[in-house]
């Protein structure tokens, strides 16, 4: 009743090719953006910005990048942490070593470096597939970890191997309040989400999906696997690299290679599996699930204890958090193996038929 495209006739090709062909979708996205831009700052406090929203946005961006590779092109990668690290360290080096380097320039150049490394480690994908490729991309993870720990040039010869960035400013405006940081991340996330959305609708995106669904058939109909796979690696690692730079610059401020360890790679892979492979919305759902849920659980349990009148020790809270979180992952994977994004689209389907869903 509310969500139905009946009566919305498309009279030109332009109309037909819109990103959101249905009026209600445009309306909803507009509302969502307005809420993120105006609504959130009205009620969010510093904690919500710094500890929840900013990490959520940055990891959503990384998940989005990984989704291009795994979800759309079907190339499983365990090197996401490495590509994030390349983005972060490259951006750091551009910022420190080049006088007057603008922040945005450093971040995007970081992404560019990550693209190069991504394509390089994507070359094996031309010969190996599936899980074997995942193992091959592990090499990227270990190599990059090693490089940033051992080659002191990358860390500007810092004795501890930790690098830090502060006093960020964008076109002369200092980015130090949590809201400004949030705005910077939000803008980049929106821009990249639109970019990816358009890419996957274009011929490149269709090539990726053809390769994902059956690479032999794709090659037969004239898609060059080299081009399709490497372009997916390039786009994916560019976005992941930008996310890495943001993670270092905006969220942590000071980081070491451990911030981009193999755990990060797994975390991002789980995000898109739980959120939904091959779905842009899914990247956000997954990031929300993995970033926000543990923190909520961690704060909820003591509150729960207070209501009942028991003080729960910090260690028990931490353990329970892990158990509940694990149980929820299993629950969602059983209820909806295609990820949270599928629940979202089922909901839309039902709404379309409402009030007579079947």
């Amino acid at each position: 009743m509310f969500y139905r495209e009946n009566g919305q006739f498309k009279t030109s090709y332009r109309d037909d090719q819109r990103v959101f062909p249905i009026l209600q979708d445009r309306f909803a996205i507009g509302l969502l953006l307005a809420f993120a831009l105006i609504g959130v700052p009205l009620f969010a406090d510093e904690y919500l910005f710094r500890a929840i929203l900013i990490p959520f946005l940055i990891l959503s961006l990384a998940a989005l990048g990984l989704n291009v590779l795994v979800g759309y092109c079907g190339q499983i990668s365990l090197g996401t942490g490495a590509f994030m690290a390349v983005g972060a360290y490259a951006a750091y080096n551009f910022l420190v070593r080049i006088e007057g380097m603008p922040l945005l320039g450093a971040i995007l150049l970081g992404g560019a470096c990550s693209t190069v490394v991504g394509v390089l480690f994507g070359i094996p994908s031309l010969r190996i597939k599936g899980l074997y490729l995942a193992v091959a991309t592990l090499a990227a993870q270990f190599f990059v970890d090693w490089a940033f720990l051992r080659i002191s040039w990358f860390t500007n010869n810092s004795s501890s191997g930790s690098v830090s960035v502060s006093n960020l400013n964008l076109f002369g405006i200092a980015i130090d309040s949590p809201f400004e940081k949030y705005l910077l991340c939000l803008t980049l996330v929106v821009v990249f989400a639109m970019l990816v959305k358009n890419l996957v609708r274009s011929h490149i995106g269709r090539e990726w999906m053809a390769i994902r669904d059956m690479d032999v058939a794709a090659a037969v109909i004239g898609i060059r696997p080299v081009y399709a796979k490497l372009s997916a690696f390039a786009v994916s690692s560019f976005i992941v690299g930008v996310a890495g730079a943001l993670w270092g610059f905006v969220h942590l401020g000071s980081w070491e290679p451990a911030a981009f360890s193999i755990d990060r790679s797994f975390q991002l892979l789980f995000m898109i599996i739980i959120g939904g492979l091959g779905s842009i919305m899914g990247s956000f759902f997954g990031a929300a699930f993995i970033v926000i849920l543990p923190i909520v659980l961690n704060q909820l349990l003591p509150a729960l204890g207070n209501v009942v009148g028991v003080t729960i020790s910090t260690a028990v809270i931490a353990h329970t958090e892990l158990m509940v979180f694990g149980a929820l992952i299993v629950f969602f994977l059983i209820v909806e193996p295609h990820g949270l994004a599928r629940l979202w689209s089922t909901l839309k389907e039902k709404l379309r038929l409402w009030p007579f869903p079947h």
Binding site: S162, V165, S166, H251, S254, A258, A259, L300, A303, V307
Partner: protein, 445 residues
Amino acid sequence: MKLRTLAQAALLALTGLAGLAAAVPAAAQEKVQFFPSLTGRTGPVAPNATQFANGYADYMKLVNARGGINGVKTLVEECETAYATDRGVECYERLKGKHGGATVFQPLSTGITFALTEKVPVDKIPMITSGYGRSDSADGGVFKWNFPLIGHYWVAGDTLLQHIAKQEGGWDKLKGKKIAVVYHDSPFGKELLPIMQERSKMYGFELQMLPVPAPGVEQKAIWLQVRQQRPDFVVMQTWGVMTPTAIKEAIATGYPREKMFGTWWSGAEPDLRDIGAAAKGYSAVMMQHGAEPGSAVAKELLDKVHAKGQGTGPKEEVGQVIYMRGVVGAMLAVEGVRAAQERFGKNKVMTGEQARWGYENLNLTQPKLDALGFKGVMRPVSTSCVDHMGSAWARVHTWDGAKFTWASDWLQADDQIIRPLVKASADKYAAEKKLTRRDGADCQS
């Protein structure tokens, strides 16, 4: 159908949440000095970090039992980081504004310290990093908000080398010797290296670097290298599960424990208890305190906190090395507030900014320490605008198979060597960040 069940479950959870949120802020607003505690009760450092958190919490309870800080009660709230930097940052954000604002943070992790160093000047909250974090933050001229009170990695490394040299009969005897450094491959481990390299240049001993990837449970290859190259000494910069692993591997490869020396974080009961007699002869350097079960403060903690059933952990750990470190950490945090009260008004809750002044003007004389129950545990600590460390005293203790005994007299790190290192590193940091050194006027504020 499925969707409907899910929606119902979500709705139920939401109402539950709302109910909880309403029930929480019922606690009465009392005048309290809030000390956040970032704990590592789970994860790779849990055996040690748990004791630290318990000691910290117990001492704060003792302060309240003694009547508070000039009448102001202390309050501790914990947040679990599991030694992970991103969780630590989240905890910091969560706790910094609670209960009227955090007084001081003690993150107990070098990684978290590095991340918070960029954040505390903005939020105006001081940070105490006794024996860890950035060694160059001892330079108060650049690091206004960091306080590596009673020592840092370079002090530990220097005093440890002094001890080895003394054992050998002088620095000149170290010439041509080979010292292996087994370290956690992270900023925590690497922070030790500059002092080792400096001393090796001065006295001509050879260094062999053996990094161990985090969390440090995979050390077979490292110890095979040790067996192959037979260094004269092994210095270990290890923490958490990494320490017992290293000692077990050393036993397996037959490297003598008498030649193994741990730094400040690598020699505590949880590391050696399970190995017991096999670890006999292993030594570690202790800045200020060691295991102090006989000290007055440990007895008082047992009497006034544990005997009342308010002990945070088991009674047996009171007086053990890392427990005492928590106690000393809490004592320093409290005494800084007391010092600040002298200036800003007794019987008042200090803000983080005021407490910072207290940490910078800390003057814990021996009589003051003795009165607090730290007789024989600590030597005087006195800080200033330029010196945020306050003392550089250390001793070495050795495991006799069941407990630690002192193996050396008091050692003092060589200021002539450490000061230029600290200054050079701090200047580099300031240049990178485009900071200017604090001037005299800033020191008064």
